[in-house]
Amino acid sequence: MNGMTTYFLRRLLLIPVTFIAITFLVYAILRVVPGGPIEQAQLQIKMAMMGEGGGGGMASAQAELQIPASAMEELKKYYHLDKSIPEGYARWLWGIVRLDFGRSYVYSEPVLDVIVSKFPISIYFGLIGYFASWLICVPLGVSKALRHKTGYDTATSVLVFVGYAIPGFVACLILMVLLGGGSYLDVLPLGGFRSENWAELGFFARISDQLQHTAIPVIGYVMGGFATMTILMKNSLLDNLGADYVRTAFAKGLSERRVVFVHAMRNSLIPLTVGIGHALGLLFAGSFLIEKTCNIPGMGLLSFNSVIQRDYPVILGTLVFLVLIRLTGNIFSDMIWAMIDPRIRFGK
């Protein structure tokens, strides 16, 4: 076995350890803190009983409102909270292994079904955003590198820095105000995945509706990596243009176009692929902030809402996906990196 295989094997073996460490941490936090499903249920029962009592003295009503111990036990059993934290965690983990994520408290559906139904939406926006950022950043970076230290370079640098200074979700908000709010223009819808009357629309109306709903979130996704990607592209191309092999190519008498776009470009694109792992995470898990801002019912919004509603099985379920995608994504992108760039040798 060569060094690289052992290196990646070792990293793969580290995944379960990391996975268990993180999920256990979150599980324990969720179990220890107040405000869990039991408290929520208690609150609901209390409210209901108070309503029935109607008009009775508040103080005496509160004193009487102790939920019977047997009912508490039942509640705890229902939510699997009657076990100690390690035992409960072990049961939960065993469930995950068998792909049984439990039932959502809010949706009263199996968690896996909820997550699977949200996945395609996040992937849709994530994929388009990812490709759009390549389509924008690579040409921009290349043209900046070719015109290094010119007026064009400075002007686009300002654009890039502004992009770096504005987070993606803020860009979405600004665009929504300017293009969809009605105060200035009213051409794009204010968030959502599709219009409500989607089912009644014709084929072309559906396409245009979908595109309209896609525009703003995708710009938000692109903004996220815009500055880093463009500057990375520019710097790596500049690095390569100063390298000896480019000098040789020029000496052979090749045209500048050929040297830049065939010889230097191929090597300059390598650093950009390093981000694939991170992009994968974004692709599948969506971005909390953009999905909340644009009201896209994807994974990000699901996990956000589950935290707010204390829907523990869904919180843990989305966490499982998030962590697994991230861990495998990192390794995956390193593998790709090692594959396209033979100079990279992991694990010495």
Binding site: V26, I29, G35, F161, A165, G181, Y184, L190, L289, R326
Partner: protein, 461 residues
């Protein structure tokens, strides 16, 4: 006209802030250092780097502006506040703005009791309305107007009192009549207060100096015409939010909170990162491997997700938020940089020399290696600040950041979402404030990077 005066005042304040930040403070720093016996001369290579930084105009000017604004923002209570710098009424003299500033500074001390209206010739028992006081100081007609309304009320009540309840009146009607009768002396007392105050003002025994922008970010202006939020206007530069708090005041206080938050987080993150990374790089071997594995696990915790879970459970305070962000995110990136630097530096001759002279491990790390590994830290700092402010704004936007009521950009954005169609200023103003601030910080970062770590690209064509 008043707008011109305000503008000139603001410009003068900025000039004073600049002189204080970039002339007085450095001078004081050097003098104090010399007095304490330190050599305050910079090492020549640092002098060269700073000179190079100064030649990059966009970055240098951004640096001057941002630092000046930040230092000024530490004294915001004197510039943007609903409390006056100085107030005198009869023999009472007070400095409410300074008191508030001190209360913020000495947060462990019980705050000063508020100034009551009764002590300043105003009707009521709550906090003095300093703006009304200032208005009366400018134009005593304010009193006449108030007196006129009160007199009108009194007349109306007297007119009602003429009709006494007959013998057949119910108990309720008698009670109403009694109540009306009781109001009369109260109104008369108010009128006496007002006319007394008018006399004091006329005798020139009252004076007040309001801040340039006389509104506070935590003050709910509910007596304005219409219902909040208000659009930007003459008295409120950028309008108000839906609780009637002035947006401009919130933005500038939000600037102070965001910047100090980011600076504190970056600094603490640096300290932890330097120690952890230094230990990893300097000792190497198993220590390095173990800590690396730990960091690998730690950094795979989804940051925002974790923050939200924790913040949903415990309402965070400023300090808790700082420690959470530092612990979860702030130190990891830096520790990798430092690890690499220490790894490289520890085999240099000067380190061997220090070890041979019997320097302790700690002093080798902190006194000898660290000063030689500072460049990546310094160049990284502005981008660190940008990232931290971004995190804070996101958390505030999601509602899991600073306690409710703290002036913040993120909370304003969240409100703006609700009123997106009708009050676009609630989104646009904080976005622009944030974009301009962060843009300038990025410019500083770019310039620092170029000055400290210059890279010359050569290319053939």
């Amino acid at each position: 006209m008043t707008a011109m005066i305000k503008l000139i005042e603001a410009a003068l304040l900025f000039a004073a802030g600049y002189l204080f930040t970039h002339r007085a403070l450095p001078w004081l720093y050097v003098k104090a250092g010399e007095r304490l016996g330190f050599d305050m001369k910079l090492a020549p290579h640092w002098e060269k780097r700073i000179a190079r930084f100064k030649t990059i105009k966009r970055g240098y000017y951004s640096f001057l502006i941002v630092t000046t604004l930040f230092v000024m923002s530490l004294f915001l209570e004197f510039m943007v506040n609903n409390k006056p710098l100085f107030i005198r009424y009869n023999s009472t003299v007070a400095f409410p703005a300074a008191a508030e500033w001190l209360d913020g500074l000495l947060f462990f001390k019980a705050p000063r009791p508020m100034d009551r209206k009764a002590d300043y010739g105003q009707i009521g028992d709550d906090q003095v309305d300093y703006r009304l006081f200032a208005a009366a100081r400018r134009d005593p007609a304010v009193f006449d107007e108030q007196l006129k309304t009160l007199a009108g009320e009194l007349d109306a009540i007297r007119a009602q009192l003429v009709k006494k309840p007959g013998p057949k009146a119910t108990a309720e009607e008698r009670q109403d009549y009694q109540d009306l009768q009781d109001i009369v002396p109260a109104i008369e007392a108010d009128m006496k207060t007002l006319s007394d105050a008018k006399a004091v003002f006329a005798a020139g025994k009252a004076s007040v100096l309001m801040p340039v922008y006389p509104y506070s970010p935590r003050e709910h202006l509910l007596d304005m015409p219409g219902r909040p939020p208000h659009r930007p206007g003459a008295s409120h530069l950028l309008g108000t939010d839906d609780s009637g708090a002035d947006v401009f005041a919130q933005l500038v206080y939000g600037f102070r909170i965001s910047m100090s938050f980011a600076l504190i987080v970056s600094f603490t993150g640096y300290v932890i990162g330097i120690i952890v990374g230094g230990v990893m790089g300097y000792f190497g071997g198993w220590t390095d491997i173990l800590i690396q594995r730990f960091i690998e696990i730690w950094s795979s915790i989804p940051f925002l997700f974790m923050m939200i879970i924790i913040a949903a459970i415990i309402q965070p305070t400023f300090l808790l938020l700082v420690s959470l962000i530092v612990l979860l995110q702030g130190w990891v990136g830096i520790s990798y940089y430092i690890r690499g630097e220490f790894y490289r530096e520890k085999s240099r001759d000067y380190v061997h020399a220090a070890v041979a002279m019997g320097a302790s491990e700690w002093s080798v790390m902190m006194k000898h290696i660290l000063p030689n590994s500072l460049v990546p830290l310094v160049t990284f700092a502005p981008f660190n600040v940008v990232g931290t402010i971004g995190s804070l704004v996101s958390l505030d936007y999601l509602g899991f950041g600073m306690p409710v009521g703290t002036p913040s950009w993120g909370a304003l954005l969240d409100q703006g979402m609700k009123y997106l169609k009708y009050y676009p200023h609630l989104i646009l103003t904080p976005s622009i404030a944030m974009a301009v601030t962060l843009f300038m910080v990025v410019m500083i970062g770019e310039a620092v990077r170029e000055a400290f770590d210059p890279k010359v690209f050569s290319r053939l064509r």
